[in-house]
Subunit: 313 residues, 3 copies
């Protein structure tokens, strides 16, 4: 009986370990659901086996660190210490080159878990969620280290440019369907159509309202970006969409969305995320860095903090 | 009687609405006084009718948002949710071009009110005022969005420059009187002499000590900038002055100025604002952005937070 | 007897004044020990008499400000208001030119004391130490003011560079011993071998464990920087080392280091400081600014805040 007990404990632990790992993946899109996490992992593996493994290992590392370092079990099991690790692992593996990038990606995933814990502590008084801020800042820092450290080999696509020589290229044919699906897939750096569809299915699995909000967020980003005269190529790639999708989900459904105006506030926040995305790309141009999910973080923080003072938002 | 009551209520509401709108304008210069707000509006209209209307509408929008979104009535009626909207509206209308700039300015004013509420929440624990931080960051972001969104047309005067090619041009004839008055007028982006005079009259209306401090702040900025070898053209335009004026008012009179050394601390803070203004212009050079009132915000935050630890400041 | 009392009081005050001044110098390397401070001062004087005097005067100014402005006596006497002043004074005197640099250095030291007090207030809720953040930001701001103010003459060694034209130069012969000692000396901007040795002696005086951790920090930085393919010249000058030394001391010994894993966490943080140092140099390249101790501040904040959530770190 004693042995049985211990076995069930182990299984329980193993189960909660696996569950926490998949939830860390689903928390990237603000959902705590292991099945959604598994679907998203399949979507990533479908477009790249190694990146899928990095995502899984990064989530796993975050859970191990959370357990060993004495983190609150509820937080660790909800995957809340791990979604930044998942994103850092994927982003570093995609934006670096050479064999060492896999090691850097996993080391970055480990640091992202510590950074997430640090931000949780700093922001707990304000009662504002950490979101993906740690992953973004960490990824920017590690990518820029490549200019000084030979082992970090930057993807040659990331070229620093002088703002004074920048020109806007608006020509091109917008593709509505691909733009919309990519807007959702790009939350996980996916611009492969079927990967986006499976990720969307994962969101619907967690709740039809969440799926609907994700689609609305992508539609709003598409319309706003097109209406404000953005370049067509990033619209088609979904590069304006993923921040709007995350912002819509966060503001309209996930955090403190008690007001009956919450869906409308979500739409306003999603619209705002488009010029903020455009602006961040400009700030980062001299460094050749991608904006990642920073406009989602900034717009969501803005609304969530404002809600504490203006409760009808 | 019931009808009478309701009428007086409506009038009361209308009155408090109008009062809050004008106070939002006066709060830009740290004063809660509807008459001062009206005088400032006249000063702005004198140099540009459309900009005056944008200022008025921006203040009005902030009050509407504050009311609809359930904000604390005292805060809304004091104009504390609106001064960032007034500045954002004016700054966006002046620094963008084309017909859409009016829409962007008013949308920016609306977001500025939300941003102000958000910052109020974030900073309430530290008991440090928000000042004009939200307007500055919002304006910088929306101006930079113009490099990616065709509808945002940047004023061609805002040119990104390479710091390594920058040269200091110190020649020119300093004009003391215009420099001093512009230093006050530039709080509202005014470099028309009589607009500056009317704004100063508005400050004196709210209190002779405030008027005196505003003049002292402008004199200190003039002397410090000239003494430290700044370029003459920005000195004459009052571009070093307005941050010093606001810093002097904030530190010496408005916030926590209980120590008998407060006026001297105000002078030190006003002096400090000059190199900080110079420095911010350098940080922003690669992006071609104006420093706005950021040096006022930084120097005032520095002193107000230090006062919590060093009470004799 | 009354006179005796007053005399002893005066002497007591004089003694505590001198002690606070030397402790302000030793607090730069996270140690509260007047003898260590004196040894460090001797080490600085050995390489440059004027810089030594600036260090001493900067520390003295911070103590005077702390007393006059009504600061808590314990904090002032521990030198906690002054270490940022010491660093700001040295950094400004070394990175500016011309006769006015001495005045600017001492004025900067005075503002650094206020900035430290301000940050103490802002960070007291999070229970995270201020570290050298105020000195870094202040020095960056005052150095950049030189592009707009003729009186600030920047050291011509600080050249803004375009990131797109940056090339990594890895050739050169690494010098282990000098690299290690410089890694400790550079905490006080010293690359003279014997100055580094005396500073290390001062650290050992305060505690053999601290001395050991300082050496370990320098070794780790050397190995990590070399292993990650950094340029040899900064490695030899100890420019990767001083941040790792400070990070190691802070994380493994000084702040909240109760966990038995604290030394290992210190080593991880010291390793992390190397890519963060590399990255900061890249962020600052367009402005030609030195990274100073920012990577120490960022890595230490990260771990100390994470420890509040993950207590086994």
């Amino acid at each position: 009986m004693d042995t049985d007990n211990r076995n069930s404990l182990r299984e329980g632990t193993l189960y909660s370990f696996i569950s926490a790992t998949f939830k860390a993946i689903s928390q990237v899109i603000l959902i705590e659901n292991a099945v959604t996490g598994l679907l998203i992992l399949i979507a990533i593996l479908l477009s790249s086996i190694p990146i899928g493994f990095i995502a899984l290992l990064s989530a796993f590392i975050s859970v191990v660190i959370g357990r060993l370092a004495g983190g609150d079990k509820t937080i660790v099991n909800q995957g809340l210490l791990g979604y930044n690790s998942v994103l850092a692992g994927i982003a570093l593996a995609l934006n670096l080159e050479g064999g060492m990038r896999w090691v850097i990606a996993l080391a970055g995933a480990a640091v992202a878990a510590l950074f997430t814990a640090a931000m949780m502590h700093v922001m707990c008084n304000a009662k504002i969620p950490v979101l993906t801020f740690p992953y973004i800042v960490l990824t920017w820092f590690l990518l820029l280290a490549s200019y000084r450290l030979g082992v970090f080999q930057l993807n040659p696509g990331l070229v620093p440019q002088d703002l004074s020589h920048w020109k806007l290229h608006s020509e091109g044919t917008p593709n509505l369907l691909h733009g919309l699906v990519n807007g959702i897939g790009q939350v996980f750096f996916q611009d492969y159509f079927w990967s986006g569809i499976i990720i969307l299915a994962g969101v619907f699995w967690a709740g039809w309202r969440l799926g609907l909000y994700a689609i609305i967020g992508s539609v709003i980003a598409w319309l706003t970006a097109y209406g404000l005269g953005a370049e067509v190529s990033p619209i088609n790639l979904g590069l304006y969409g993923y921040n709007a999708v995350l912002t819509m989900l966060a503001v309209a459904a996930v955090f403190d969305a008690k007001s009956r105006f919450a869906p409308w506030t979500g739409i306003i926040a999603a619209i705002l995320s488009v010029p903020v995305t455009a602006s961040l790309d400009t700030w980062l141009l001299p460094f050749g860095l991608p904006g990642l999910t920073m406009s989602f973080v900034l717009c969501t923080w803005l609304i969530l903090a404002a809600r504490k003072i203006l409760p009808n938002l």
